[in-house]
Structure formats: C-alpha cells, structure tokens
C-alpha cells in the first residue's frame, strides 16, 4: 500500500524556537539529515517519531502533521480558508 503524503509544520516550529536541525535531531534521536527529509515532506515519520516531535514542540500531533496541505498560521488564527 502506498502511503499518503504527510504535510507538516516542523520547519516553521523549529525556526520559531530558534533550534538547529542538529538540536532537534538530538532531542528526537534521529540523524540531522532525517530532519531535512521531514521538513521537505519527503519522508513520513512513524507514529512514535511523530509523538516525539509533538513532545518536543509541546503541541498536539494534528497541529504539526496533516494529510491535507496545512494553512498558514496567520490563517489558522483568523480561521480563514485556503484559497
């Protein structure tokens, strides 16, 4: 079965917290290059890895990952639809 593409906000959240890829990688126990793959949405994380990421950012998984393109945070705050 071909898995669906997962969209995420990892890059945005990492930059917001002024965290390097290496720092995030160390916190979730992966190679720093895997962070690049996750941020470019070229690799879908396992449920365990998704939980680790959500624990680092202290945010729920549906806020970080989605099967549909994610809205910009400003749109999310104002509850606007994607054009």
């Amino acid at each position: 079965m071909k898995s669906r593409k997962l969209y995420n906000r990892i890059a945005l959240l990492r930059l917001e917290r002024r965290m390097s890829r290496q720092e995030l990688a160390d916190k979730i126990g992966v190679n720093f290059q895997t962070i690049g793959y996750l941020e470019r949405e070229e690799y879908n994380p396992s449920l365990d890895l998704a939980f680790r990421i959500s624990e680092v950012f202290e945010l729920p998984i549906p806020f970080i990952f989605s099967t549909a393109p994610l809205k910009a945070l400003s749109d999310e705050l104002l509850n606007r639809e994607i054009k």
């Binding site: 126990g29 992966v30 190679n31 290059q33 895997t34 690049g36 793959y37 690799y43 994380p45 396992s46 365990d48 890895l49």
Partner: protein, 140 residues
C-alpha cells in the same frame, strides 16, 4: 558546500570501482594463458590499487559502507528503511547474477568458478547494498 564534480559523484566512483573489479577478474583469466605473466601481473597489481582507491572514494569517504554495515540500533527509522530497501534489491540482483555466472560456466563447460571470481562475488555481495544506496542518490 563542496562542489559536485564528475569525480566526486558517488555514481561515477561506483562505476569505476565495478570496472576495476571486473578488470581484475578478466585479467586473471588472461593471466592463466599469457606468455608474459610478469607484465600482466604488474598490470593486475595496478588495477588492484585502482580498486582500493575507488573503493575508498565511492564507499568509505561517502559513508556508504558505514551505513550499510552498521548495527541497526545505531540507525534512525529513515536510515533503516533505506538500508532495508537496498538489501532487498541487492539480494535479487546478487542471486540473479550468481545464477547467470554459474550457468555460463556450466554451458561453456569450464568447470567450477575459480577463486578470483568467487572472491569478486564475495566483494560484490558486500558492496552491492552500499552501491544501491549511492546509486539512488540519497543523503546518508
């Protein structure tokens, strides 16, 4: 960032390394019947040196060898998937190649495969997962 040139592309060095191994095997066959064995043996030695250099550049320097030979506990889930995919493909490729070689030897009635071909196949079995990883162009 290091500029990608013809010589530092993993694919180029993987091909060069495969050519040197093939050359070692072919030259060894010629060596059995050659009159000037010393000249050919010297040439064979040069190819062995070239094989070592291309192995270093293709597999050691790039980290491909480490990735395909390290314990899985030291890899993350993406790396485990990459290695497992490369092992799956290399298993098929190696099986087909070995069967073809054995059949070819049987057809031409050359008897069992000789020690250099066996050593070449052993080396090939070891580098194949790394070669597939490098060929597919993933970061490691």
């Amino acid at each position: 960032m290091e500029k990608s040139t013809f010589m530092n592309r993993p694919r180029t060095m993987i091909v060069f390394n495969a050519i040197t191994i093939l050359a070692i095997v072919v030259l060894f066959e010629f060596l059995k019947f050659a009159e000037n064995k010393i000249l050919l043996a010297g040439f064979e030695l040069l190819i062995v040196i070239a094989a070592v250099i291309t192995f270093y550049m293709a597999y050691w320097q790039t980290g491909l060898w480490r990735l395909s030979h390290i314990k899985t506990e030291k890899l993350d889930e993406r790396e485990i998937k990459l290695v497992s995919d490369s092992l799956r493909i290399s298993y098929s490729v190696f099986t087909i190649l070995t069967i073809l070689i054995i059949y070819a030897f049987a057809v031409i009635e050359k008897g069992p495969i000789d020690v250099v071909i066996a050593a070449g196949l052993l080396y090939f079995a070891h580098i194949l997962p790394s070669a597939i990883l490098g060929w597919r162009g993933k970061n490691f």
